[in-house]
């Protein structure tokens, strides 16, 4: 959950794509529709009922948006007080867009170090302005704040485990949410469902949304002695190498009063303990004397689910698979997708007065989301494929990160989630440097293959 590298290079790439491949819903040539939402039947007398399953950042943002517009919202969360195993890093734009109070922030990370397989270390963060930082929070603190805000805007919070979702047969009959609360089985009828229940989403299973490949993220929380903790006061570290992860990176993130040392992988999940041992050894000097206080693991989706909208059910956040490659960032995209989905439903139902259908969800939510973020996700996927494949490429990545321009672009793209304004000349230099680094490291890599130590 750290910075994305060279995010802005996609400005060059997108100029090559003359048209973004934004899919358009198929038109019906023989229907007599005038494109206005009067197609949808009006709900006489009552407001639209929506159920949001899952009370994390995605669910809470969706519930808040829906409830604020007057829609009858029910937010389901099975364990409101659990702490999620998560990096807990959120970008600045999330603090602004979601009005997150600054007292929730545990730490402000202003420095990052990225370490290559041959221990070449590069300092990131020289280009940050004094008011810029990466906010580290505890998930339980953030989640409960967002949930209480959703409740304050009118959503009904239900602490229950949702077991399954009954799909209706006609376009106007309700969805029935079956849940268990205090050991009793209950059911609730709603018109629209937003599935925000994470990587093992039950809503996704109920609508047969298909599966996705997951990476596993494994981390240990280690309490350090004070002098070692002072080193990580506002510093996060990222380690790359075949020994710590074959296709991802390992990290040391500072949290409120301890550090989280972890790693992740997609292809060799059964070797995750070996990789964890390797990262512990790589940072052995810096965590000497530390005590492990918690061990946790969680799946992280690698790509979107095949179906993200079906009927009047939409998936958001981790349930939909909105996690970027390369950095594994998911909190901001979860919250943003929840908000956008909520706004889509509000627009399509005209503030809760009309029923909506699948086309509305696709048009207002899915198309908007894809148009806004698909190039970001595609670009990071490209970076991951190019730079995380083998040790030679990782060395090249770390070498490139030493360049100030790269650092500035990376942080700006990460913190504000927008195309950083780049200088064309510097862009060209960066592209040449990238190619140069990759070529150099490939040559050394080839030399390495023939050598025997």
């Amino acid at each position: 959950m750290t910075t994305q590298t060279q995010h802005h290079l996609h400005s060059l790439l997108s100029s090559l794509h003359t048209t973004l491949k934004t899919p358009k819903p198929s038109s019906k040539p023989h229907s007599l529709t005038i494109t206005s939402t009067s197609k949808n039947p009006s709900l006489s007398g009552r407001k639209l009922r929506a159920a949001v399953i899952g009370g994390g950042p995605a669910g809470s943002s969706a519930a808040e948006t829906l409830a604020a517009a007057g829609i009858e919202t029910f937010l389901f969360e099975r364990s409101p007080s659990s702490s999620k195993p998560c990096g807990g890093a959120i970008p600045l734009c999330m603090l602004h867009e979601f009005s997150i109070p600054l007292h929730l922030i545990d730490r402000r990370v202003t420095h990052m170090k990225i370490v290559s397989p041959s221990n070449l270390t590069v300092d990131f963060g020289k280009t940050l302005k004094p008011h810029e930082f990466i906010a580290m929070l505890r998930r339980e603190v953030l989640d409960s704040f967002l949930r209480s805000r959703a409740e304050a805007s009118g959503a009904s919070l239900i602490s229950a485990l949702v077991t399954h979702l009954e799909i209706p047969s006609s376009p106007t009959s309700p969805y029935v949410v079956h849940y268990t609360m205090n050991n009793s089985r209950r059911a609730l009828a709603v018109d629209v469902v937003i599935g925000a229940d994470g990587a093992n989403s039950r809503v996704a299973k109920s609508i047969n949304a298909g599966n996705y490949a997951c990476a596993i993220a494994f981390q240990e929380r280690i309490k350090l002695p004070d002098d070692k903790m002072a080193y990580y006061e506002n510093l996060a570290e990222m380690y790359v190498g075949n020994d710590v992860s074959p296709d991802f990176y390992a990290w040391v993130f500072p949290k409120c009063d301890h550090v989280a040392v972890g790693t992740g992988t997609v292809c060799s999940k059964h070797d995750i303990k070996l990789y964890q041992r390797a990262i512990r050894e790589r940072v052995s000097d810096k965590i000497k004397g530390g005590k492990v206080i918690k061990v946790e693991a969680h799946p992280i989706p690698e790509h979107p689910r095949p179906i993200r909208v079906r009927g009047r059910v939409a998936l958001v956040g981790d349930a939909a698979g909105y996690v970027t490659k390369c950095s594994g960032e998911g909190i901001y995209f979860a919250a943003k997708s929840g908000k956008m989905c909520g706004e889509a439903i509000v627009r399509a139902s005209e503030g809760g007065d009309r029923m909506i259908n699948e086309d509305d969800l696709r048009r207002e939510y899915l198309r908007e989301w894809d148009a806004k973020y698909i190039s970001t996700f595609r670009f990071l996927d490209l970076l991951q494929r190019v730079f995380y494949g083998n040790n030679a490429a990782r060395e090249a990545l770390v070498e490139l990160c030493g360049d100030e321009y790269v650092q500035r672009m990376t942080f700006e793209s990460y913190l504000y989630k927008r195309l950083a304004e780049g200088n064309r000349w510097e862009d060209a230099k960066m592209v040449l440097n990238t190619i140069g680094s990759l070529v150099r490291c490939q040559i050394v890599g080839r030399e390495m293959e023939v050598l025997t130590v």
Binding site: S118, N119, T121, K286, P304, K325, R385, V444, L451
Partner: protein, 252 residues
């Protein structure tokens, strides 16, 4: 009981001459006279002259238990029970970077040597990863090596190969085109189609250097579009379902 234990461990220790640490562990734990007698017993049983020589050394070290510091240090590391991880050592690697002065051969800078040395270092670290410390940071950047050194190392042999192939293909293609169409070389260079053909051939030779390159390129294309396909999957379903709906409507 103690002597049996020590005999067994000494036997194992003697048969592998490298583990000097373990041997010195045993004498430490048993300071009685039993040790001396046990070692005598072992020397008779151990096969080969080498084993007995080592056992004799053991005796001597057993006598000097309280003596040299090395024994204690090695004992400490032995009792930690951690595998010994070798550290990268090279006389030319100083303070986290290569000392370029040591790579001078007959008055000229030997960049090839630097490249090979760096490759060796990275290979070593790949096999035996080291902890990243702040006390000895790695400062070497491969960009210090000039671009022509890289080219000479890697690309020249391959460039030679590709040029040779291109020349052979070009010669025979010129011959065949002349035989088929009557255009001689001068005429061919003026013809647009021939120029296009030449361009395609050159690009083809660069891209498809070996037969496996073809498969690699195909895999690359698949991988590149895989992620995109997953994003578009939601829309594919929509198109399928709406066309199904339309068919139903027409039937009804």
């Amino acid at each position: 009981m103690a002597s049996i234990a020590i005999t067994a461990s000494l036997q194992r220790a003697c048969s592998s001459p490298h583990l000097t640490k373990k041997k010195q562990l045993q004498p430490r734990s048993m300071r009685s006279l039993d040790t001396k007698q046990a070692t005598h017993v072992v020397t008779m049983d151990v096969e080969g002259q080498k084993g007995s020589k080592i056992a004799e050394k053991l005796e001597k070290s057993a006598l000097h238990i309280d003596g040299p510091k090395n024994a204690e240090d090695k004992l400490k590391s032995g009792t930690d029970a951690e595998p010994f991880v070798p550290k990268f050592k090279d006389e030319r690697w100083k303070n986290g970077t290569w000392d370029l002065n040591m790579f001078v051969k007959s008055g000229k800078m030997d960049w090839d040597g630097v490249i090979v040395a760096e490759a060796r270092r990275r290979k070593f670290l790949e096999l035996y990863p080291e902890a990243a410390t702040n006390q000895e940071p790695v400062l070497f950047r491969s960009s210090i090596i000039p671009w022509w050194a890289w080219l000479m190392r890697s690309h020249l042999p391959e460039a030679e190969l590709l040029n040779g192939r291109a020349a052979m293909v070009g010669f025979f293609m010129a011959y065949f085109v002349d035989a088929l169409t009557g255009l001689d070389v001068v005429g061919q260079t003026g013809n647009f189609i021939c120029k296009v053909g030449l361009f395609v051939t050159v690009i083809g030779i660069i891209l498809l250097r070996r037969t496996q390159d073809f498969d690699n390129l195909r895999k690359l294309a698949d991988e590149a579009t895989f992620y995109d396909k997953q994003w578009q999957a939601s829309w594919q379903d929509h198109n399928a379902s709406t066309s199904a709906l339309e068919k139903e409507r027409r039937k009804a």
